[in-house]
């Protein structure tokens, strides 16, 4: 038998995770979106916990399956689970993730409201804002809070006169 078996490292797991695209916005990976909560490596067992972006996101099982498929074989036992241990928020999207979103025509989200800090009721008067990912103008109008998927909001750029989508600040 040739070839040496090297011990699996956490770095190798993170590199593999960085290759798993988001099914709805494939330019960004699950690592770019900050979906990976924990990576546990314990001898024979590799366990990864992922955070759901939206509770009702229909892609959750698809994402879990893609991650499990990519990690299969890296350890004798591979477990991939979803958890609500901490809420996923759009603040978890990495700088690299934001750059990739912008380059593919999605405005990255602004800072998420601190959900736990104040009554939900008081959020009623707030409105999301976004800069145009095409021309950079801040002169934009919110067209619809809801878009083609749960995580997207639709805007119109008054300067370059084009519609664009923003990844929701949540």
């Amino acid at each position: 038998m040739s070839g040496s078996t090297r011990a699996l490292t956490r770095e190798a797991v993170w590199e593999a995770l960085a290759e798993v695209p988001d099914p709805e916005i494939p330019v960004v990976s699950v690592v770019d979106l900050g979906l990976v909560h924990t990576v546990e490596l314990d001898g024979q067992r590799l366990r990864v916990e992922l955070l759901p972006t939206f509770v009702g996101c229909p892609a959750l099982e698809l994402i879990r399956g893609s991650v499990a498929e990519r990690l299969a074989g890296m350890a004798p036992v591979v477990e991939v689970e979803m958890t609500f241990a901490v809420p996923w928020t759009s603040d978890r999207i990495t700088g690299e993730g934001r750059r990739k979103l912008r380059e593919s025509g999605f405005a990255p989200p602004g800072p998420a409201a601190d959900g736990a800090g104040r009554p939900l009721f008081t959020t009623i008067g707030t409105r999301p804002t976004a800069s145009c990912p095409w021309c950079g103008s801040a002169d934009t109008t919110l067209e619809n809070l809801f878009g083609p998927t749960l995580c997207r909001t639709v805007f119109w750029c008054n300067r370059c006169r084009q519609p664009f989508e923003q990844f929701k600040a949540i």
Partner: protein
């Protein structure tokens, strides 16, 4: 706090609360989806479909919490009961009716639900606090959207305003039921599962809503509700909806998806 340390009466009350919340979200989600394809404008088709998807997702997570607590299958809980077995508030027994009616119902429901979620944000029952933290971030968008519609209809001329006011007057007594009909809510408050009993949450909700209703000149709540809040008696409209949302499953209950 995990399921193992809950005393039996607290556990029983928690089961009742989870079922009521899950059924509220589930049934509202299905009423919302009745607008798919026929909303007044394309944007609202998209918005109501998203709202429906959110609510049914929340219901799924809450049914899962119930299954973790009491055993059983979340899908069976969602689709396997007779109409009398559902515990949603009477507000959700009404059909979608016209646009103003759906807007009024959603606004009353979303604001009441916001008060309920605020009271669960720091719940001592960790699994519920985790799901609620996620739900609150999504519900902020629902509130924003429905508030914008209420304002648009209330200030949009004679007919939209008249329809909105009539819908609110009809719905108010049943809206009070969203924060009622939970057995053992005082026990839940003592155990720290809920921040305060339902009556106090209801007061907080109404106090938060009052200035906005006054600003827009919209009707406020009646002094009291009438009748049972969460079944078992159910409207013919809900029975029709139940026929719709259980149709596929009833056609082949053993099917594997």
């Amino acid at each position: 706090m995990s399921a193992q340390v809950l005393e039996a009466p607290v556990r029983g009350a928690l089961t009742g609360l989870l079922l009521a919340m899950a059924d509220d979200e589930f049934v509202l989600g299905y009423w919302d989806s009745e607008w798919t394809g026929i909303a007044p404008v394309l944007e609202e088709d998209v918005a109501f479909a998203s709202l429906a998807q959110d609510e049914i997702g929340h219901a799924q997570a809450l049914y899962q919490l119930l299954a973790d607590l009491e055993g059983g299958d979340p899908d069976e809980l969602a689709y396997g009961r007779a109409p009398e077995g559902y515990r949603h508030a009477r507000l959700l027994d009404h059909p979608r009716t016209d646009w103003a009616f759906s807007v009024a119902r959603r606004f009353l429901y979303d604001t009441a639900d916001a008060a309920r979620l605020d009271a669960l944000a720091a719940s001592a029952y960790q699994p519920l606090a985790g799901v609620v933290a996620k739900m609150r971030r999504e519900e902020a968008y629902h509130l924003l959207h429905m508030h914008a519609w209420v304002e648009r209809l209330a200030t949009g001329g004679q007919e939209p305003r008249a329809r909105l006011v009539a819908a609110m007057e009809r719905l108010w007594p049943d809206a009070l039921c969203v924060l009622d009909g939970i057995e053992g809510d005082e026990l839940l408050a003592e155990a720290g599962v809920l921040a305060e009993p339902m009556a106090a949450i209801r007061t907080r909700w109404l106090a938060g809503l009052a200035p906005e209703l006054a600003r827009l000149g919209l009707p406020g709540p009646p002094a009291a509700r009438a009748g049972a809040c969460r079944g078992p008696g159910r409207s013919d409209d809900f029975r029709w909806l139940w026929e719709q949302f259980t149709m596929v499953r009833r056609s082949d209950p053993e099917a594997v998806w």
